[in-house]
């Protein structure tokens, strides 16, 4: 992480990036890495489908944070556009995912993934 915290000149397009004193890029990246890890661990240890799905959303938001942090650091719009696309896709995924979850709940009345064992893993 020390390598990330280098300070390089901020003379891209006019004004320098508005930064909170003492909080540089590496803090944001560390936070998003922690969030992503929490999401991954959650997907692995949670047994309820809805909780697993929420952990996946957490992973996607960690990615969004990374994009926004870089975009604001570079004063570049690319990362922010990417975040819009990720959010749209996540919404579409949520719609389909909840539909699938409802279909399985109607047939089985349980959302515990350990019950999903007709097909052996």
């Amino acid at each position: 992480m020390t390598e990330l915290a280098i300070n390089f000149p901020f003379a891209l397009q006019g004004a320098p990036a508005p930064q909170v004193q003492g909080i540089d890029l590496s803090w944001y990246l560390a936070l998003s890495a922690v969030l992503f890890t929490i999401g991954v661990v959650g997907v692995i240890i949670k047994r309820n489908v809805i909780s697993m799905f929420m952990c996946i959303e957490l992973m996607l938001n960690a990615v969004n944070l990374t994009f926004v942090a870089f975009a604001s650091y570079f004063r570049d719009v690319t990362g922010q556009l990417f975040v819009f696309i990720v959010m749209t896709v996540a919404a579409a995924e949520a719609a389909v995912g909840l539909g699938i979850i409802i279909a399985i709940f109607r047939n089985r009345e349980s959302l515990d993934v350990d019950d999903a064992n007709i097909l052996k893993l």
């Binding site: 891209l12 870089f70 570049d76 690319t78 990417f82 896709v89 699938i100 097909l119 893993l121």
Partner: protein, 540 residues
Amino acid sequence: MNFFAVALQAGTSPDINFPLILPEMIVCGVAVLVMFLDAFMRRSQRWVTGGLSLLGLAAGAAATIWLWTRGAGSLGTFNGMIVLDEIRLSFTLVVIFVSALTVLLSVVWVEGEHLPAGEFHSLLLFATSGMMLMASGGDLVIIFLGLEILSIATYVMCGFRRTDLRSNESSLKYFILGSFSSAFLLYGIALVYGATATVRGSGVVAGTTNIAQIGERVMAGDIMYPALLFAGAAFMLVGFGFKIATAPFHVWTPDVYEGAPTPVTAFMAAGPKAAGFASFLRVFIFGFPFVGAVASASSATNVHDAWLHALAILAIITMSVGNVAAIVQNNVKRMLAYSSIAHAGYALVGFVAAGAATDATQRADALAAVAFYMLTYAVMNLGAFAVVTLIARQNDRRTEVEDYNGIGFRAPALSFTLSIFLLSLLGMPLTAGFIGKVAVFASALNVGSSAPAASSLYTILVVIGVLNTAISAYYYLRLIIVMFFRERTTEWAVPRIPASMALVLVITILGVFYLGLFPGRVLDAFKRKPASGAVTQIAR
């Protein structure tokens, strides 16, 4: 990716060239049309949507061939978002072929199961447009979008038999693990975007998600955060590894393939895998290219070496795990799922060869070999699944190996065609599977002979590939033996073969022998670069 930024700064019109995305637009438009038509049509006319889908796919294929032979003025558009090269075109043709056969496979099936045909066909077409975008994306954002269009449509198709618990479970597992892997891929993209920033003069140039630009910066050693580049490449490797079902990331495959309706399984084993390979190849071979002995580019060379070795190991594990696990399966769909994992491993050998190639012709040969492999796999796999669909009957009831006991001489048309497909999957000479394997393995040996430093690696890869082919003989031949040499104890009526299914079987049988006996034309076509500048740009 800086589409708007460039347009605003330069004050010019943005770089738009619609003919270049004509195939994608056609397929997407027909998908919307099918969806609308379905809403206003009576149940008895539902075959119309299948016919319309086929027409749309044929038009998409024609547009692709037109792009290949005539060109559309430039080799890239939308500021590098879409590229036109031989990988895009060959893989686009493969996925269109897969979808067209899936439509034929599903027209009768979807009626017999009392499922909404129009919805199924429009989802299939949307998935196809996603796959085509994955093959044509020159920017990570397009590849991500294509992947999600494909995945979301496929999640629904897996769970299409809503009242069947197996189908529900399959779609749930695919959904959870698919979006999990998408998140990995996305995190990799974010890290690569941050890593590829460079310093120019006194200013910092922002990172990029354009694959060609990433490749240029890696080549020049112009990377601000090499460590992040490594992490990003690793995350993307995991994400793509999930999608094409390479070995440590393959656990979802057998469950999802077994539970999904059989025509959907046929589609998933051939189409998304080919599209996944197209974007995987493009990102890693052109985004993290071979740098050679440039002194300033030590970090960048390392990223190439790292992914090449990781993929070589993945190829070995994938081939072995797929084939060994397939031996113990008692369900035919599950067995074919493990076989599809093994085939992804064989194709990865060609991928490694393409990555290791030091000159352009060798690389083009290896890339064409992978595309050709995907085509041969699509042909024989769809044929095999067509027979499995027919034997499974309604609700996929009969998919166990015992259900194939002694059907050999009772239904000779089905059992002989299935035997041909199984022998082709095994890689018997004269069939497509043999030439596919030869092309992939030969490209690996070629690369090995011209790179003496690590040539043993490629030899080992090929040797393990051939050994695995020998292992796979067990389970492919076992099914043939079960069909012909086992007694049938239970009642069994010969399934009726509808015309559309017969057409699928004829096309795939002809394909297996055509690609097996005269592969030269297709292989040469896949190597041909698209024409550029032949047509003046229309919408500039």
